[in-house]
Symmetry: C2
Subunit: 551 residues, 2 copies
């Protein structure tokens, strides 16, 4: 009798498991149960379908049931919910959501890929009409229908994470006035605050009203369908629709019912082969808890890439192989009104949360390609590394061009255990329209190497106080356009001749616009025995830090 | 007495050495001699200045003598040629090309960064008017002047390497009719032939006449300034100007005069600290011979990125430090009429030249981002790896979007000694407009992993012969639009039911359009005991191979 494999959930993780399983085992019976109406759909595309960028809904259907049947001989059962697992009997109870009724199905191997569910806090009025989440094709249909039927012109988006921001962009794209309400003091909470600051400014520049440190307290539904969103700060926001994108939590209903172990973060616990605490049950995707490859901790990460990889691994494990999941490094990207925001590895936040203190941060703002070729755009790049051994721990970047490229290169570097020396030496593509002989990745590495060697230690804006000298080496015009209240001003080219003006026996923290001139200044001063340090990211990072504090 | 350091050559390598030296040593006397009129200019930008993309010549001057003086206290002596070295006396003879006369200068450390010179073969008429190379700002001025004064409308470019092709593009951009004459049977000789084929087609689609396997035999200069280029194939090409971009050779005149060791490829021999055979003399940039980090051989590489890194290393070495140059992996990129061509690591050609036979090639043609998001463009990607241990050896890519990104990621992977398993598992940025849950880099890795594991061995089009069955699993419409004369046609979804039609006991080489359906077919067949292999890159690679053979 051939092996019977049941898969619960037919989107990224489940569909990947099924297809890979068939490639490894032509004989197995493979059945994929999906409680929704669609399998293998592109949930990452939903905001863009709402915004009309992806015009046809059909495009979101990556693989249809007929393809699973014809190409893979996989039985797809949509609108079928698995409601219980009997681990002893190795059976599941399946509810037919279309025809009604329940039936049992047996398995030799069971794969859980139930995904995550949107968090919907118990706020008065939150279940009323015109308030939507964005997880499924029917969600997108509902929002599109609501907007066109109501001729909606005003939207409130609650939650400024990736999906919330993509919805903000797409609703603006449709011409709606959009207010974003975010509980944290920044948009895009996975980023560190100073990196989120330019994102917030960019949203505002594109007509989005951003309310940080605020949350909804009530949704009032008027007779004409208008919604008033009341907030903690006392605002009353009038909207024709509300998008809830507060976050997701792993759907562990079935796992709990079956008594499977959960992890410390509340996801299904799995081993490196994606096997749960029951040796006949595997789990993949947004519902599982995985190892953070950088911090070593346990984490939840609702992203399609890892879900796909996990599906392939679970299939391999079921087929009797034993490759191991390497954990996640949380590489992510988001596009917003032409801006790209991307990150990989650990943020400072994540390190602090994990109790890790051996890290140093650098900021830089290089152009995405050489300045002499027209169209060079700045990339705001943050690199986090371990000063003790130089290991790269994480990177975040914001800009309009070349952002994902640099984060992808650093993602590969982190995966391979690279040090900042490796970043400094890496040989990347260079032609004038593509980069620079010293690519931003090289520059980040070089700054960190100079810090580690002691040649040019870096400092942070937070290190500035009355016990140090703050030296601004920019040109007079830059100084006049704005400077730090504690700063002393000596332009770089006058520094050698005016060193005597600096107070004796005090550390000198040097800054320029981005860090390049300050680097040369630091080298001049240190060779004269002065404890000089370069304030990383210079005046540009100062402004981001100030923006991050502004509400 | 402070250390006196002389630098011969003030462009990428020399200028990098000088600036880094000053940062490491405030006391040294640093003098930079440059025989040309300009130092630290962006030679990579010259074709774009000719084409008017970089409108102002001044933009090409990355750092001017005043900056070297004010910021770095480096004396820049342009139009000064170092004509001899007395290694015993530690002096150089300098000729003042402006004022005339020669003088001696002493050094404690000497750095040679003379660059490379354009190859100008002894062809009749080659030194006549209207025939240019493109290495310096005066070269660019001369071409621009010639084009505008003569109202030039027809150009012939001899040599289809990077600079030649960039000149082709820029001359077309100015509206000239351009004929490219290339001695090899392909454009862009560092690429493997089938990867160069779509580049050639793209040039032709942009109005360039491409003559492969042809070379100039004479340049005839008419009284009115018109040039007739006679070629080996017997053509007589009429042109108003000719660009010679046949290649460069290291400028070793001074090194030879001084009796410094040269390497097997004719460049100046240096150690990992960029020190020549004389312990007081260092050399960097296009004139030196460096280790190929992939093949282990010795190579010449005239690129700005490595020159910069070498300059920094030479400076560190002179300052008493000992970081080591890691060698080069020949990462390069070229933009042509919206097409990007990039490569890193070893080509098949380079491996064969080095006598390395333990390698396998895969081709794939993924979209640069998910197909469901509008605007997805194919990337033609070739990955070369070592099947014995899975090490990534090289990659080449051609496409309009996302090409440099993938090559940069693979460049980092190669630097870190990554295997194809690492490529398969790497976690890159994914949102619909940026990539895919399975990025092209992941796909390349997965294909190679499946080959190494024996799950889905790949084959090459060259393996097709009368002793194997060639199976085409595409749909009928694709078959009808063109197929291989030896192929049997069974669409994938019919394969399980029609396996009996395949001849017994013969290997089955399967192909589809790009390799995805063939992969599933191979898995179906192999699980039934048939020795099936996937012809890598499918019909798309077949077409590129055919194009590569067409003249």
């Amino acid at each position: 009798m051939s092996k019977r494999i049941l898969i619960v959930g037919g989107v990224a993780g489940g569909a990947s498991t099924a297809a890979r399983l068939r490639r490894l085992d032509e004989q197995a019976d493979i059945v994929m149960y999906e409680r929704g109406a669609f399998v293998s759909f592109a949930n990452c595309g939903l905001p863009y379908h709402v915004g009309g960028v992806i015009a046809e809904e059909d495009k979101l259907l990556v693989a249809k049931p007929a393809l699973f049947a014809d190409r893979f001989r996989i039985a797809v059962k949509a609108r079928h919910e698995v409601v219980a697992i009997d681990r002893t009997a190795k059976t599941v109870t399946v509810r037919d959501l279309e025809a009604g009724g329940e039936f049992q199905d047996r398995y030799d191997a069971l794969v859980l890929s139930p995904g995550a569910t949107a968090i919907i806090p118990p706020i008065p009025g939150i279940t009323g009409p015109g308030i939507f989440t964005m997880r499924t094709i029917p969600d997108a249909r509902a929002v599109k229908g609501w907007i066109s039927e109501r001729k909606a012109t005003r939207a409130v988006v609650i939650g400024g994470g990736f999906i919330g921001l993509e919805m903000v962009e797409n609703l603006r794209h449709l011409g709606l006035a959009v207010t974003l309400v975010e509980k944290a003091e920044q948009v895009m909470p996975p980023l560190d605050a100073e990196m989120a600051a330019p994102v917030r400014r960019h949203l505002e520049a594109n007509g989005v009203t951003v309310r940080l440190g605020d949350g909804a307290t009530a949704f009032e539904h008027a007779a004409d369908g208008t919604i008033t969103v009341r907030t903690e700060q006392g605002a009353a926001l009038t909207a024709d629709l509300v998008i809830l994108s507060i976050g997701v939590r792993p759907d562990t209903t079935l796992a709990k019912q079956a008594g499977l172990d959960l992890g410390p973060r509340g996801g299904i616990r799995v081993d490196a082969q994606m096997r749960t605490s029951d040796p006949a049950i595997w789990a993949v995707g947004d519902a599982v808890e995985v190892a953070d490859a950088v911090t070593g901790g346990s984490t939840l990460l609702a992203l399609a890439g890892p879900a796909n990889r996990q599906g392939r691994l679970a299939a391999a494990s079921i087929a009797g192989r034993a490759p191991a999941f390497r954990g996640v490094q949380s590489t992510a990207v988001c596009g917003l009104f032409g801006l790209t925001v991307a990150s990989t590895g650990a943020s400072v936040k994540a390190l602090v949360r994990s109790g890790i203190t051996d890290f140093t941060v650098i900021h830089l703002h290089p152009a995405h390609h050489v300045g002499y070729y027209p169209g060079a755009k700045p990339i705001h790049l943050k690199l986090v590394f371990r000063p003790s051994d130089g290991k790269v721990l994480g990177a975040q970047a914001v800009g309009t061009e070349g952002v994902a490229k640099r984060i992808d290169v650093i993602a590969m570097a982190i995966q391979m255990g690279a040090t900042v020396e490796d970043l400094a030496e890496t040989e990347l593509c260079y032609a004038p329209q593509y980069g620079a002989a010293k690519d931003p990745v090289n520059l980040a590495g070089m700054i960190a190497v100079n810090h580690r060697s002691g040649d040019a230690p870096i400092a942070q804006w937070g290190d500035v106080n009355e016990h140090v000298t703050l030296l601004d080496v920019r040109e007079p015009g830059e100084w006049q356009a704005g400077h730090h209240p504690l700063a002393v001003h000596i332009p770089l080219h006058q520094l050698r001749d005016r060193i005597g003006e600096l107070p004796q026996r005090r550390p000198v923290l040097v800054h320029c616009a981005v860090g390049l001139r300050a680097h040369t200044a630091v080298r001049i001063l240190r060779q004269r025995g002065i404890d000089a340090r370069n304030i990383t990211g210079g005046w540009t990072t100062w402004k981001h830090c100030q923006d991050a504090k502004a509400r």
